[in-house]
């Protein structure tokens, strides 16, 4: 469309590949390559081995994987419940109140996650709610951070929802609860699952707030990756990173399957 001559097209594509491959594809490939190596002092990694994965799937690392999964699933479900409730409640309010509520729930995106971590550390190390040192402080921080994203995507979906469905149901005598559970939520299901996937991925990779808060017995994967690379075990670190990426992608794929089945309804 923009470029017509064949030669110019090939030149543009070559330039695109030259920028795209080293910048975006290479990093992921390099981490994957390093996870199978023991040494990298030349163009390609050397010393092919699967020992990194043995280290990355047992003991400490296996515990970190379960920790990450439990944290991410709990935080996503809590965030989805709170975010959806807030979005539905905000949609029913007047314009002025709705704006205030949207601003409140979007605020955690703008506040640096390190500061969210610090704030939760300060608040929950004091007597009324003493949670410092427990796993709950990590889960609360993750929930706060991802609720904003859940709320944003659900409230975007609500504004696109055709109000005629709920009006028709209500006019036929359905109670508000019935309208909510049988009409609105099923219609929102595709965006709810999308939001759940987003929350899960964000929580799996969360490092900044977690670094401020994690107790020794609740170490998620990103913290373990940092600990490995910090003490120089780069190759074990990459294997754990590949485990993290694989777990995230698997769950995202499963969630997207739910979505495709729901959108036919």
């Amino acid at each position: 469309m923009l470029v017509h001559s064949r030669k110019a097209k090939w030149a543009v594509w070559a330039l695109f590949l030259l920028l795209f491959v080293p910048l975006f594809a290479l990093p992921l490939l390099v981490v994957l390559g390093a996870s199978f190596a023991t040494n990298w002092s030349s163009v390609l990694p050397s010393g092919l081995t699967a020992a990194n994965y043995q280290a990355a799937t047992r003991g400490e690392a296996l515990q970190a994987l379960t920790t990450s999964l439990v944290t991410a699933v709990t935080a996503s479900l809590l965030a989805l419940a709170a975010g959806t409730w807030a979005a539905l409640a905000a949609a029913a309010l007047g314009k002025r109140h709705r704006k205030v509520m949207d601003a409140l729930f979007v605020l955690p995106v703008a506040v640096p996650s390190v500061v969210v971590g610090l704030a939760i550390l300060v608040a929950f190390s004091q007597p009324p709610m003493l949670l410092n040192g427990t796993r709950w402080i990590v889960i609360i921080a993750h929930t706060v951070l991802v609720t904003a994203f859940a709320h944003q995507s659900v409230s975007a979906a609500i504004t696109r929802l055709d109000p005629a469905y709920e009006q028709a149901a209500a006019s036929l005598g359905a109670r508000p609860a019935h309208v909510l559970f049988r009409v609105k939520l099923p219609l929102l299901l595709p965006s709810l699952t999308a939001a759940a996937g987003l929350c899960f991925a964000l929580s799996m990779g969360e490092l900044s707030a977690t670094m401020m808060l994690y107790p020794p017995d609740w170490t998620p994967l990103p913290v373990l990756i940092y600990a490995s690379t910090d003490r120089g075990a780069l190759f074990t670190g990459s294997a754990i990173a590949v485990v993290l990426m694989a777990a995230t992608l698997l769950v995202l794929f499963a969630v997207s399957r739910i979505r495709t089945r729901a959108s036919y309804r």
């Binding site: 029913a92 640096p112 900044s208």
Partner: protein, 302 residues
């Protein structure tokens, strides 16, 4: 019953009524009940987010010596480390944003307007890229440009030199490269969405009237892309100001940003009033910019 159905019809038939505006057709619940329903999530948010944030502000006015004063602020503002971190944070964020905008615009242009087989796969790859944590990029750069990585290994193999020329990873330039790599997709996504709504007939018309590609980009594509660029750019600016993982993994002593300073003061030095002061400054900058982003993106309809 019939009246109710008629009312629904009336609502549906009203031009422009469906979609955005929501007209309750049933007996409207009193607004007090609606406010009551909004209360639980807001109360929860207040408990786990707003109240902790207020405590941070409160603690930033309480030096370790006791009492309430602006002493922590005076101490922090006077320290060289803080001023340097502030400057590093701001120029890194501005530089990364500029880089992301240029690179993202160029790449999105090719994907949208010089399509090639596999262009769809590339845009799906970008979505996947977004779901990975940022520190993976720094980890990967260690293997590519690190002291014994790919690029330096190639150099020493070819020239026989003792060490390679790429030693920038632990400098701010390494952080800049990692941030541009990680955040460019955040610019490309809104751009690709905007380009998909651009009528290609406009491009064909401009082209058939004799305009060459640079002119079409400048006069047809760029004006259409400006709102998406503004929205994506300001989001990336905020995310760069708040970025922690990339800087932490770089492990460079010379690169300290505001989030790193918060972490260092709170966890490594246990100087909570100081950490809270830096946190307040960081929040003010980020929230101010994010507010601007919301205004811009709403105006752009994104």
């Amino acid at each position: 019953m019939t009246e109710a159905v008629r009312e629904v019809r009336a609502v549906r038939g009203r031009p422009g009524a469906p979609g955005g505006s929501r007209r309750p057709s049933t007996a409207p619940r009193p607004s007090a009940t609606r406010l009551l329903w909004a209360l639980p999530p807001v109360a929860l948010l207040a408990l786990v987010f707003l109240y902790p944030l207020a405590l941070v502000v409160q603690q930033s006015f309480q030096p370790d010596t006791g009492g309430t004063s602006v002493q922590p602020y005076a101490d922090v503002f006077a320290s060289e480390a803080f001023r340097e971190a502030l400057w590093t944070t701001v120029w890194l964020a501005l530089g990364s944003t500029a880089g992301c905008l240029v690179l993202g615009f160029a790449l999105a242009l090719v994907i949208a307007f010089v399509p090639f087989p596999g262009a769809r796969a590339v845009s799906r790859f970008i979505d996947v890229f977004l779901s990975f944590p940022s520190f993976l990029i720094t980890l990967a750069l260690l293997f590519i440009y690190g002291t014994v990585g790919m690029a330096n290994g190639l150099w020493t193999d070819v020239t026989g030199a003792a060490e390679g020329p790429f030693q920038f990873l632990t400098t701010p330039w390494g952080v800049l490269l990692a941030e541009i790599t990680y955040f460019t997709p955040f610019v490309m996504r809104p751009l690709l969405a905007a380009f998909s709504q651009l009528d290609t007939a406009q491009l064909e018309a401009a082209s058939s009237l004799g305009a060459r590609a640079p002119r079409i980009i400048r006069q047809v594509v760029l004006p259409e892309a400006l709102p998406a660029l503004a929205a994506g750019g300001s989001l990336v600016l905020v995310l760069c100001l708040n970025e922690f993982g990339i800087v932490l993994f770089t492990g460079a002593k010379g690169v300290t940003t505001l989030p790193m300073l918060v972490y260092g003061k709170a966890i490594l030095e246990s100087d909570y009033p100081g950490a809270c002061v830096v946190a307040v400054v960081n929040v003010l900058i980020s929230v101010g910019l994010y507010g601007l982003y919301r205004v811009v993106s709403r105006r752009a309809g994104a």
